[in-house]
């Protein structure tokens, strides 16, 4: 008999069971959502939170006018996943395609792509076989080429090929200023500066790295509405040099012509503004193309201009004589007997290139008499000569932003012997870098202020746009008499006039003040009679010089005189630069 009570009991029983189930569910829900909330939230965050690191761009190098000299070019690294590429036949097809496109050995690529497993060490010291998911194909692939390859891959249906965006250091002007700019190598995706401005300013160029934490969806892409902590990666600073690209081009072209004509072992040319010390152009040969390292030799990328020294030869004479004029020891008209080209002092013979008799100080410079210069120095005295050479910067660094920089070879006074006083003023027994010589001539050109040579003009923060200008430093005086400057430059003008040693350096319409230098090289401890440095250094126009220019050839063939080898190169460079700078001639040729 089914009673009302029976039904009620059954209903209550069902409700009770349902209640237990519901209660268990609620309890479970509470346990999961409330009790285990921190633990499960942490697990979930680990799964859907990703960290991406981003690096800014390496700073660039510009010339004074903002022309790019060193920049960052986009490129691509191509990798493959051997698991997805396919079977051996497919691997062969892919390898052949890339071998043809990228000029790579097909067999090497095939081996990489067909290697499906690799051996990895275990924690217990054993080894195990795992799937190989990575096969490199090529790094630093050109951007345009990578686009073509992408299209081809889509057309041919190659799978498992990934393109990773990278940037590489690029030198759009190739060999231009290469030895000064330097270059970088890549080590594990980081640029390592090797030499030059790249190395010296490496800390400034280096960008910062930043990590971004973001929440990602199932497809791995960041969720816009998710939590995100982002720090901005900053680009490196940009450096603006004092170099002017157009003048640099002129310099390098003429240097190439000099190399072709005289086949020297090396050649240098430096142009500087005498009033500021700004280096307008600087070049050396041999050189290299930093975009193509395959043919690069160590002798080509060494920075000879800052590291090497040479005996300046007769280019030293105006400096010593300027010192003598400044001390009032001589005047331009003081006469000296040049002993017909042969003179014995301290038991050693001193010779002139041509026999000469009585010469004025002006003529001593014009005709480059060693004997005349030696006699002037004897009047000056060791102590004062030493002070003059120190004041002109010999034995010191020039202040240019390049390392390593040599201080040259200039012995302190106590180490001088009896011949030093006669030899140093003619540039023998003393060695200087091309930069030191240019700096000393800047002092001659600008009226007696020894400026520091400058290569870097300003630094720019690309993020904020702010600029920091490298300040001009005060220049110590080298002359103390007001008449010295005019006297010495009037004498130096004669060098490029009739009767002087550098007629080939004369520029029609302009007064050029300068000096030739032909110095013997020291080979195995003695002066060679076959190896020379041939130099010419000067400034133009004399009254208000636009620049000081040095051209030097190391071991020129066929001829070794500074006036013959370096003089014409000086003239070509100076003429073109004067036109570029729109420096009008001082006089017409007919009026001279």
């Amino acid at each position: 008999m089914i009673t009302h009570d029976n039904i009620t009991i059954r209903i209550k029983l069902v409700f009770f069971l349902v209640g237990i189930v519901l209660f268990s569910l609620v309890f479970r829900l509470y346990h999961v959502q409330i009790t285990r909330h921190p633990e499960l939230l942490a697990k979930a965050k680990l799964k859907y939170t990703a960290v991406a690191s981003k690096t800014g761009e390496r700073g660039k190098i510009y010339d004074f006018n903002g022309n790019l000299l060193v920049g960052n070019a986009p490129c691509v690294t191509i990798v493959a996943d051997p698991q997805i590429v396919g079977d051996n036949a497919k691997c062969r097809e892919v390898a052949d395609y890339f071998a043809e496109k990228l000029a790579l050995p097909s067999e090497v690529l095939y081996k990489r792509l067909s290697k499906k497993t690799r051996v990895v060490p275990t924690k217990t010291g054993g080894r195990k076989l795992v799937k190989n998911l990575y096969a490199p194909i090529e790094q630093m692939v050109d951007y345009e080429l990578s686009k073509q390859i992408k299209k081809d891959i889509e057309t041919r249906g190659f799978k498992g090929i990934t393109f990773r965006d990278k940037t590489k250091r690029y030198y759009p002007k190739n060999e231009l200023l290469a030895n000064i700019l330097g270059f970088t190598n890549i080590d594990r995706d980081q640029a390592i500066a090797v030499v030059g401005v790249e190395k010296l300013f490496n800390n400034r160029f280096c960008p910062t790295r930043a990590k971004t934490r973001y929440e990602r969806g199932r497809d791995g892409l960041p969720l816009i509405y998710g939590n995100r902590t982002e720090k901005e990666a900053k680009d490196g600073l940009n450096v603006y040099l004092t170099i002017q690209e157009s003048i640099q081009v002129i310099l390098e072209e003429e240097l190439d012509k000099l190399m072709a004509k005289w086949s020297p072992k090396a050649a240098y040319a430096i142009m500087a503004e005498p009033y500021t010390g700004n280096i307008l152009a600087i070049a050396q040969r041999p050189t290299y193309n930093p975009n193509d390292r395959s043919t690069m030799k160590a002798s080509a990328w060494r920075n000879r201009i800052t590291e090497d020294v040479f005996e300046p030869g007769s280019t030293m004479k105006p400096i010593a004589i300027a010192g003598a004029l400044d001390y009032g020891v001589v005047t331009p008209r003081t006469r000296f007997n040049c002993e017909k080209g042969r003179w014995i002092y301290a038991k050693r013979l001193l010779r002139d290139s041509h026999p000469m008799e009585n010469l004025t100080v002006s003529e001593i410079i014009q005709k480059s008499s060693n004997i005349g210069t030696a006699k002037i120095s004897l009047l000056l005295g060791e102590e004062r000569l030493y002070q003059v050479l120190c004041r002109f910067g010999f034995g010191q660094k020039t202040g240019i932003a390049l390392k390593p920089e040599t201080v040259g070879i200039f012995h302190p006074l106590k180490r001088w012997d009896s011949l030093s006083i006669t030899r140093f003023p003619m540039g023998q027994g003393i060695a200087a870098s091309p930069l030191q010589l240019v700096r000393s001539y800047c002092a001659l050109a600008n009226g007696g202020n020894l400026v520091k040579l400058r290569l870097v003009d300003r630094l720019e923060n690309p993020t904020t746009g702010s600029l920091v200008k490298v300040p001009l430093e005060p220049a110590p005086r080298v002359f103390f008499r007001s008449s010295t400057h005019k006297q010495i430059i009037d004498m130096m003008k004669l060098v490029t006039r009739q009767g002087g040693t550098a007629l080939q350096a004369a520029i029609p319409g302009y007064d050029v003040a300068g000096k030739t230098g032909t110095s013997q090289k020291v080979v195995n401890g003695t002066y060679s009679h076959a190896k020379f440095f041939a130099s010419f250094i000067g400034f133009v126009p004399v009254e208000n010089p636009a620049f000081v220019l040095l051209v030097t050839a190391d071991e020129p063939q066929k001829n070794y005189y500074g006036g013959t080898v370096a003089g014409p190169a000086f003239k070509s460079i100076a003429e073109k630069t004067l036109r570029l700078m729109n420096v009008k001639p001082t006089f017409t040729v007919a009026n001279k």
Binding site: N65, L68, T208, L221, S246, G465
Partner: protein
């Protein structure tokens, strides 16, 4: 034969309570339905919004990816432009097209205005700030 002993008063009471209960159940059920529908609508709206946000998020990612591609294209073109402006390339073109270009004599050149040598990109904010402020 089964006998069901009935109590009329009890039946009357239970019929009444049943009527009341059914009325009560209907109202309660209706309320539950309404609440459930409201919850359903809210959830639906949220799901729709989330779905649209997800689609938007994907679009943003795609656009960001395209922007990055454009930036790389621009960087590549800038570098190409500098290479083309280099003297080596210009000289090659002069030779290729046999252009009879000559450097003018100083007397052939007349400047019409004040010659100002401005850097290609004029400095935006030139002051002596510390370089380390990055």
């Amino acid at each position: 034969m089964n006998f069901h002993l009935t109590d009329n008063s009890k039946q009357k009471r239970s019929r009444k309570s049943k009527q009341n209960t059914s009325h009560f159940s209907f109202v309660g059920f209706f309320k539950i339905i309404v609440i459930a529908v409201l919850i359903f609508l809210v959830l639906n709206a949220r799901i729709t919004l989330m779905s649209k946000t997800t689609i938007l998020s994907k679009n943003i990612n795609q656009i960001q990816s395209r922007i990055q591609t454009f930036n790389r294209d621009i960087a590549h073109l800038r570098v190409e432009k500098e290479t083309l402006c280099g003297w080596k390339h210009i000289k090659q073109k002069i030779r290729q097209f046999n252009l009879a270009l000559q450097v003018p004599d100083p007397y052939q050149v007349r400047h019409l205005g004040v010659r100002v040598n401005l850097p290609r990109r004029a400095p935006r904010n030139e002051q002596g700030m510390l370089v380390s402020q990055r």
